[in-house]
């Protein structure tokens, strides 16, 4: 028997760490990974609520989140590859012009 609040606390901590990662890292790949971490934290909260209220909708929502994350990663990584091709670096601090 584990209180629901514990799962939500873990979810909150992971989400915060993900947000922190987005703010302090300069490597877009790691920023991107932090976004994935935040999505995961939200998923964990969804599944915990689904268990607590005994409804399937939470799990199904997580299923959709996973599918959307897959699409998002594909496009995001393609963007990073294209940026690397034009700038020969992927440091986010160097991405300061609107036209490459």
């Amino acid at each position: 028997m584990i209180p629901l609040a514990y799962y939500l606390a873990i979810s909150a901590i992971l989400f915060t760490l993900g947000a922190l990662g987005v703010l302090i890292r300069r490597n877009p790949l790691i920023i991107f990974m932090s976004v994935e971490l935040m999505l995961n934290a939200a998923n964990l909260a969804f599944v915990a609520f689904a268990r607590a209220y005994d409804v399937l909708a939470g799990q199904i929502f997580v299923f959709f989140v996973i599918a959307v994350a897959a699409a998002e990663v594909a496009v995001g990584l393609a963007l990073i590859v294209v940026i690397f091709r034009t700038k020969h670096s992927i440091d986010v601090d160097l991405m300061n012009s609107l036209k490459g």
Partner: protein
């Protein structure tokens, strides 16, 4: 203290440590591997919450596809390390402060205001019955059929988009 709680605490510690490891590691490869471990612990959380289907989907899609793609791109670009140096020196302390505020807010809401007292019983044998998966499939293909189809279109669009983005134009080396 019962066994489930011990397992939960161990997993929670691993999850937080791997997330911190991802934030702190200099090399992008190590960051990706820490994140894989983090996803694996989250998958075990899903199993403990009685969601084996989601747990397996998590491992297949996140650990098996998304993170492998990350590793692939990191290796392809040779971008595992970036040169040192900060452009905005005040960025890091400010970010840590803001994160602490966010965490404090969440903790206050969770433990002081909302009074979430529900306890989660350990999943029993019913979670492992084929009917559990059937119920999920029926829900997915009846009630949520439209979102499901839209997701498939989204994946197709993403695929086309990626090909257009990364395709070299004719004549370009």
């Amino acid at each position: 203290m019962d066994l489930t709680l011990i397992l939960f605490i161990v997993l929670a510690v691993v999850a937080i440590l791997t997330a911190l490891g991802m934030l702190a590691s200099r090399s992008a490869i190590y960051a990706a591997l820490f994140l894989v471990l983090n996803f694996a612990t989250v998958a075990i959380f899903y199993l403990m919450l009685g969601a084996p289907f989601i747990a397996m989907a998590q491992v297949t899609v996140y650990a098996g596809a998304i993170m492998v793609l990350f590793l692939f791109v990191i290796m392809l670009l040779g971008a595992e390390k970036l040169p040192k140096g900060e452009v905005l020196p005040w960025q890091r302390p400010l970010a840590i402060g803001l994160a602490a505020v966010l965490l404090a807010e969440a903790g206050y809401l969770l433990f002081q205001r909302l009074h979430i007292t529900a306890g989660l019983a350990n999943p029993g044998a019913e979670v492992n019955a084929p009917e559990a998966i059937q119920a999920m499939a029926l829900s997915l293909f009846n009630q949520y059929l439209l979102p499901f189809e839209v997701t498939s279109v989204l994946l197709l669009v993403a695929m086309v988009g990626v090909i257009v983005l990364t395709k070299k134009e004719k004549g370009e080396s």
